[in-house]
């Protein structure tokens, strides 16, 4: 079945792949923001994950170690942010922006001698007969493992935030750190852990770019994916499943516009290129128009520093 020269099965399958990096980074950032911390350094953490993951995979020859390395790389950079904002009480917005610039530079330095090398290839998950199902097999069962990891991550974050005591504490810290502190929760410790989790997820997303999507290392490989991830968190109004929706929307329209061009659709490409951003603006307008609880669901303490002695 084809629509305007585009096979929807292939389109859905490829948008699922295209969305993985921004989805991983966004779900990590959602946890960070739920804990009341605004870390704008996602782009920097992603690219650190991309380079560290690439180096790890090339050196060890193992894609799995590459992904672990990528997560570790992102988390290491996040640690810098955690130290500056949680212990030295630096401004979160400025520190986050600086983190991006620092990450871009440092990754370029680390990656210098790895330009032009090829990482070990990551295979698709073998689903056996499931992969041969008509339509569904192509959409659901012919991907690499990270596609499933990203969806599981969204499910896990949703479940933890909604059903567990840990999620309750995390949200309490993000809504009112004074109250959480008064109840005896270690606000700073919880926030540092959330920041590390966010860094690891962003790093994993970055490693996906350099190990699977592009498979190579080049400077500036993330090309703004981290900023899109930040936008998706707002777009999702801090709800995990909407992160999945937002990531698929963004990834989907990017893929769709290239597919439409390849299929020869007579739509000016400029309109297609800007459409994801137009849709984001539109959704934000609808969301903030004020009906119901969905409107501006941001954690109340978002971006505010906390110090017990204050």
């Amino acid at each position: 079945m084809m629509f305007g020269g585009i096979d929807p099965t292939l389109l859905i399958a490829s948008l699922m792949v295209a969305s993985v990096p921004i989805m991983l980074a966004a779900i990590g950032e959602l946890v960070v923001e739920k804990a009341g911390v605004l870390n704008l350094g996602v782009e920097g953490m992603m690219i650190m994950g991309a380079v560290v993951g690439f180096v790890a995979a090339v050196k060890t020859g193992s894609p799995v170690l590459g992904f672990l390395g990528g997560a570790a790389g992102g988390a290491c950079l996040a640690l810098v942010f955690a130290f500056l904002t949680q212990f030295l009480l630096a401004n979160q917005v400025a520190t986050g922006l600086a983190l991006t610039l620092f990450g871009l530079g440092l990754s370029s330095l680390i990656g210098q001698s790895f330009v032009g090398q090829r990482p070990p290839l990551t295979g698709d998950v073998p689903f056996g007969p499931l992969a041969d199902l008509p339509v569904l097999g192509r959409i659901l069962f012919q991907h690499d493992s990270l596609v499933y990891v990203s969806i599981l991550a969204v499910a896990a974050v949703w479940a933890v935030l909604k059903f567990t005591r840990l999620g309750l504490i995390l949200r309490a810290v993000g809504e009112s750190h004074e109250a959480a502190h008064a109840l005896g929760y270690k606000v700073r410790r919880i926030r540092v852990l959330a920041i590390l989790f966010g860094g690891a997820m962003a790093g994993l997303g970055g490693a996906y770019l350099s190990l699977i999507r592009v498979p190579q290392w080049t400077d500036g490989i993330t090309a703004g994916a981290g900023w899109i991830a930040l936008a998706i968190v707002v777009f999702a109004s801090w709800k995990p499943w909407r992160v999945l929706l937002g990531a698929y929307l963004f990834g989907g329209i990017t893929v769709l516009q290239l597919n439409l061009q390849a299929a020869g659709a007579k739509i000016p490409v400029e309109y297609l290129s800007m459409s994801p951003y137009l849709i984001t603006i539109l959704v934000l307008v609808i969301m903030s128009s004020g009906r119901g609880k969905a409107a501006l669901n941001a954690p109340a303490s978002l971006g505010q520093n906390f110090h017990a002695a204050r």
Partner: protein, 360 residues
Amino acid sequence: MKRRHLLATAALGLGLVTSGAAMAQDKTKACWVYVGPIGDLGWSYQHHQGLLAVEAAYGDKVETAYQESVPEGADAERVLTQMALSGCDIIFTTSFGYMDATNAVAAKFPDVKFEHATGFKREHPNVSTYNARFYEGRAVMGTIAGRMTKSNKIGYIGSFPIPEVVQGINASFIHAKKVNPAVEIKVVWAYTWFDPAKEADAAKALIEQGVDVILAHTDSTAPLAEAQKTPGVIGFGQASDMIDYAPSPRVSSIIDNWAPYYVKQVGAVMDGTWAQTDTWAGIGDGEVEIGAITEAVPAEVKAEAEALAASIASGAYHPFTGPLKKQDGSDWLAEGAVADDGTLAGMNFFVEGIEGEIPK
């Protein structure tokens, strides 16, 4: 005490500055501005090879400097001004989008020579332009593509809809069609010179549309990496050899060899013979090279491609030779007529048979 220390430091600093200026006079300083990282293994990488060739040719007599990943806009003007102020004698700006910035800064520094790659504006006597006839190489790629495709669908990743890119699409298509009348070309505009993820997505979209040959006018190896994932899809190195992707999927490549030009122009600055020029050299001058054609290409196709390259190099054949019609069916070149450089430099139309429009 403290103040004296400060003064001493200042004096020392001043001494360094003046001795630096004195040194700059007996050394020629050549500077480059790159649009991407030199690690792109494509366009900027190849310009950087030219810089290295200049260093190798003149050794101690030359000093070089470069700046990578400079956006085409206000930043370019700032970088150029900074370079001119830092004592560069000749500045090469290596992307089409630097055109206005180059001319604007050149007006302010009449003693500095500016060389703009792929542009057409020479508003001041100290601005030269230089370009390579990439379309000659692309005609050869098109021949291989037309012979190799099994689905009769060729994909082309365009960067920006500018004449240089349009020439490449037309030249590839004309020569693919010549050897394979059933061939179709699908063009995707990426609107970037360098964005590996987007280039990979574009290649993927083309492959999903049934394309089995990918030609690219963007600067990274990402389209080749994407092509590698699907058996039977081939691609070409762009700007650099990209030999790392041989034997599969890279079957050949178009290589920009800027080194001879850079060595010549820097030499001209050194001996004071530099004059404004407009250079547009091709395969015959060694500025466009065809990378080794791999064994995936049958011997007779290889021979055909090499013969075409040789006839272009010798001047016996021009890739834009009539009869050719424009996309709308109107006549462009009569039988045996050859396109003039002016038309090529401003080419803003597809030839007959290409689907789709060039974005305005």
